[in-house]
């Protein structure tokens, strides 16, 4: 994985979560925030101030693309969806994360 600071790991986690929730359908930022909160059983609350920069970074990397569309209330909002590259990245990051968390868990168990 290389040298990563604490914030990088958290950042990477956020990227992974974003990619994950976009797996099935396009979402806008607000919806993403709700979805993550819900799916994690309210454990993970994403701060919008971190979410949007993360979204734009992923967009710059070409892993997601954005489109203006209509929300349920027919308001204009920006929706994001995965690109093929994004999908590949999702799989790769997911594997990495599982290995990482497995390793940490193993160490914590042993101690």
């Amino acid at each position: 994985m290389g040298k990563k600071k604490k914030t990088d790991i958290l950042q990477g986690m956020l990227d992974l979560l974003i990619l994950r929730v976009l797996r099935h359908s396009p979402l806008n930022g607000w919806d993403m925030m709700q979805r993550i909160q819900l799916a994690s059983g309210d454990v993970l609350r994403v701060i919008p101030g971190s979410l949007y920069p993360a979204l734009h970074k992923l967009e710059a990397r070409g892993l997601i693309v954005a489109e203006w569309g209509a929300s349920e209330k027919n308001r204009r909002a920006k929706f994001y969806r995965l690109t093929p590259a994004g999908r590949k990245q999702l799989e790769a990051e997911r594997e990495t994360w599982e290995r990482f968390s497995g390793a940490v868990a193993a160490i914590l168990r042993d101690a």
Partner: protein, 873 residues
């Protein structure tokens, strides 16, 4: 990859639109949050506040989102540049001084570098010029010979060392026909010549195969320069004819300006068609220079060995009595004295201008330092507001780069203008080399150098900017001196002075060399005399009698002109640096071919010594009766007598000259004359043998009672009246002498100008720094004065500072000079590279300059009103 690029481009171009979208996106989020809050029961105001608070940094989020686009750095740089331009425009005085200073430095560098570039990197404009080499032969005594045509034909075939070889022979002919008779130099070449050097005519066609045989059509290809001079660049020149030595040649082509081999060749013509038939079959006529392209991987030494064995294997039968010759292979570049001769002076100049550029950069650095200290409030505010130090440094560097860019553009313009001026003063043109011009590679390198210099002079001030104590500065608003900046200033000025000293020492040594050379006695009297060189084509005066008649008549007619005191003829003009030399034996002294002595030989007419002003030391001069194609008498010079008959009387001794061109019978020495410096003012006189005979090309020395330049027209008319086919070249003897000091004279001039510029810049630098120091220490001065210090104590204090800085610089500079002196020593004459007198003189000069430059600021320091200074806030 491509997608990324596209997105970045979009981010740059549609910046405004993307910012608006971002705003809208975040606003949507906030609205949803507010809604949720309202539903949860908060009031409108509470809902809004909570939404913003829980967002977690709205503005920062926007900023980071913008950063995510990946073009932030470009926008920043653009912003820095715009800010920089605004700052520079605000202070036009500072900006113009800075730009002009830098422009001067870049300008002189561009000019000198284009000359250096031509000499060092582009001297040979042929493909594979590194693989080109010359095959020649040397005798045991080290005399160089060419190669004979029969040998060439044998060596052409299946040469193990060379891919291809060509034969050439330089010829001088008289160009007759339209226009005045002119002597031109050109080259007889073999068929391989143009393919070897990769030359194709710009106009017309190359030679055809059938033109390369004996009896073939006489055709000629002209050089670009010759075509421009003689035919005024007439594009329809192909098909016209020229007359060389009375023979008619048809012009078939013109070479492009870059084709210059051999240097100054005005034309090329197939050698088989123009040579005498017997020369082509004579294995002893070693007339030809062979150039060839070495095979891949074959070095010069390897080639020499291969050629030696080839020569042995295929040795043609030669008549007895021929000197034994070994084959020699030399790189083409190494055979061109025109290039190597000017190498050191050009490099010296290049160093000098680099020094000037460094000095200019140092001045600029100091200027920037001074300016930054005034802007410190601006910096501290920015730093306090959260700008990173790196951001500040980057922005200041952008300003320096802008200054550098403006300066270099102006500098290049100055260079182009300067080159035009230099070309007009023709003495400064490098003879024998192509035109010096500013082209793309030079511009590129100039810009690169200016970029480096801009970074160099900007870095110091940028790094030390705003390092003062923030609180202190903001509180008092005073321009507080930063010790680091002051120290940097001081170091920079000392460095400036050091460079100026190094440059000026070199200049001083060069000037002394030049003066020493001009004081040297050439051995003759150059004043009020002219050299008229006459050359006749062999065909015009084929035998000695008609040659003699011609020159005698010429001398007689010239002698008859009003104002002429005496006329004498010589073959190899002194100081011009050429004499073929001859081997000889002294009667009564045995010598083997290896140890045979050698001397310069000079065919002359009887009145020569009188005309040119060489004193007769012993014996007598030649008489008219003794003039003979096979003379019996010889006159030697003092150097000869000293070398071979030190304690004996040379008169009456006999010497026997070796070689076909010279008389077979022994010559008796009838006189001894003074020495001349045949090969240059900086050389020692060599042994010379004067013979009373005429040669095809002689220079008549005409001594007059009055101004020699007045006689030009009359002389020309007289000579042309005698034979219209003779090529004439006239100059005064004083011009001959001054030509021989061309290099030191011009180098002194150029270095002198650069030295003056360097001195001015250093003076400006010292003035600037001392003014700055005085301004910083105004308060301190006031206190001192209030406490009873005398005005002159203050003066001494400040002047002392200036002097101290300068002396440190001088010490470093003299050390630098000493280290570099080795490099210059080949150019010097009569003065050692570490000449103490020069060093001392330069030290005193700089000290004087330092005192002068520090005087004004020092005086200002003494004028400080103590009360004002103390109150100064």
């Amino acid at each position: 990859m491509l997608g990324r690029l596209k997105r970045r481009l979009r981010a740059l171009v549609y910046k405004g639109e993307m910012d608006r979208e971002l705003d809208e996106e975040l606003r949507y989020h906030l609205e949803r949050q507010i809604e949720q809050n309202l539903q949860g029961g908060m009031s409108l105001k509470e809902a809004r506040d909570e939404a913003i608070k829980s967002f977690g940094g709205l503005e920062q989020a926007k900023e980071r989102s913008r950063d995510a686009r990946g073009v932030r750095w470009m926008e920043d740089i653009w912003q820095d540049l715009r800010y920089g331009v605004r700052m520079l425009l605000k202070k036009p005085g500072f900006t113009s001084i800075a730009v002009i200073t830098f422009a001067l430095g870049i300008g002189v560098n561009t000019v000198v570098f284009s000359g250096a570039y031509l000499l060092l990197f582009q001297p040979l404009p042929y493909p594979n010029s590194e693989r080109l080499a010359v095959i020649s032969q040397t005798s045991r005594q080290g005399i160089e010979f060419g190669v004979s045509y029969p040998d060439f034909t044998v060596w052409k075939e299946q040469n193990p060392a060379f891919e291809r070889v060509a034969a050439t022979r330089a010829v001088s002919v008289n160009l007759t026909g339209s226009g005045p008779v002119k002597r031109v130099t050109g080259s007889y070449v073999s068929a391989e010549f143009f393919p070897l050097l990769g030359g194709r005519p710009q106009i017309g066609r190359p030679f055809l195969a059938e033109e390369f045989r004996a009896g073939g059509e006489k055709v000629v290809i002209l050089s670009h320069g010759f075509w421009q001079d003689r035919f005024e660049a007439d594009a329809g020149v192909a098909g016209r004819t020229l007359e060389f030595d009375g023979q008619s040649y048809t012009i078939v082509g013109v070479m492009p300006p870059s084709f210059l081999y051999p240097f100054r060749a005005a034309f090329w013509t197939p050698l088989e068609a123009s040579e005498q038939a017997q020369t082509l079959h004579d294995a002893t006529a070693n007339n030809y220079e062979i150039i060839g392209a070495l095979r891949q991987g074959v070095g010069v030494d390897h080639a020499a060995t291969e050629m030696a064995s080839l020569a042995q294997r295929t040795a043609l039968r030669k008549p007895a009595g021929q000197p034994e010759l070994t084959v020699k292979v030399t790189r083409l570049y190494d055979t061109m004295p025109g290039l190597t001769k000017y190498r050191t002076p050009i490099l010296a100049l290049q160093f000098a201008v680099l020094f000037v550029l460094l000095i200019a950069s140092v001045n600029l650095s100091n200027l920037l330092l001074a300016r930054n200290s005034v802007r410190h409030q601006e910096f501290t505010i920015r730093l306090a507001m959260g700008a990173s130090r790196w951001r500040l440094v980057r922005q200041l560097l952008a300003e320096s780069l802008l200054l550098g860019l403006l300066g270099s553009l102006l500098g290049i313009l100055l260079a182009v203008w300067g080159m035009g001026v230099v070309r007009a003063t023709s003495d400064l043109r490098l003879p024998g080399v192509g035109e010096i011009e500013i082209n793309a590679p030079i511009l590129l390198i100039t810009l690169l150098i200016s970029l480096l210099a801009s970074l160099a002079f900007g870095l110091g001030p940028a790094l030390t900017a705003g390092r003062q104590n923030l609180i202190e500065c903001l509180k008092t608003g005073v321009t507080v001196a930063d010790p680091r900046q002051r120290r940097l200033s001081g170091i920079l000025v000392a460095a400036e002075v050091a460079l100026a000293v190094a440059l000026l020492t070199g200049t001083g040594l060069m000037i002394r060399t030049f003066l020493n050379l001009t004081r040297e006695d050439p051995g003759f009297k150059p004043e009020r005399a002219l050299a008229v060189s006459l050359a006749l084509p062999q065909s015009r005066r084929p035998d000695y009698e008609s040659l003699a008649a011609y020159f005698d008549e010429a001398i007689r007619r010239l002698r008859a002109l009003p104002g002429v005191e005496s006329v004498g003829g010589v073959t190899y003009l002194p100081l011009v640096g050429y004499n073929p030399g001859v081997n000889f034996t002294i009667d009564g002294r045995a010598s083997t071919p290896e140890t045979m002595p050698r001397a310069d030989v000079q065919p002359i007419t009887p009145d020569y010594f009188q005309a040119i002003g060489i004193p007769l030391l012993r014996g007598r001069q030649f008489t008219d009766a003794e003039m003979n194609p096979h003379p019996n008498a010889a006159i030697i010079n003092h150097a000869f007598a000293k070398k071979f008959w030190l304690n004996e009387d040379p008169l009456g001794k006999h010497i026997l000259l070796q070689g076909d061109k010279f008389p077979r019978a022994p010559l008796v020495v009838v006189g001894v004359v003074g020495d001349v410096k045949q090969f240059g003012l900086h050389t020692e006189p060599r042994p010379e043998i004067y013979l009373p005979m005429r040669s095809h090309s002689m220079t008549l020395i005409v001594r007059t009672g009055g101004d020699p330049a007045q006689l030009f027209a009359a002389l020309r008319d007289t000579v042309e009246g005698l034979d219209g086919q003779a090529a004439i070249n006239m100059k005064t003897l004083e011009q001959v002498v001054s030509r021989s000091t061309w290099t030191p004279r011009n180098l002194s001039l150029l270095l002198g100008m650069l030295g003056v510029v360097a001195l001015l810049l250093a003076a400006m630098g010292i003035y600037g720094v001392i003014s700055y120091v005085v301004a910083q220490r105004t308060r301190e001065m006031g206190i001192r004065l209030a406490l009873g210090a005398q005005r002159r104590d203050i003066l001494r204090l400040i002047l002392g500072q200036g002097l101290a800085l300068t002396l440190i610089g001088v010490a470093v500079g003299l050390t630098l000079s000493y280290a570099l002196s080795r490099f210059l020593s080949s150019l010097l004459y009569g003065v050692s590279a570490s000449d103490p007198a020069t060093f001392v003189a330069i030290t005193l000069l700089l000290a004087g300059v330092a005192l002068t430059a520090s005087y004004l600021p020092a005086r200002r320091a003494t004028k400080v009103d103590p009360l004002v200074a103390l109150r100064y806030e």
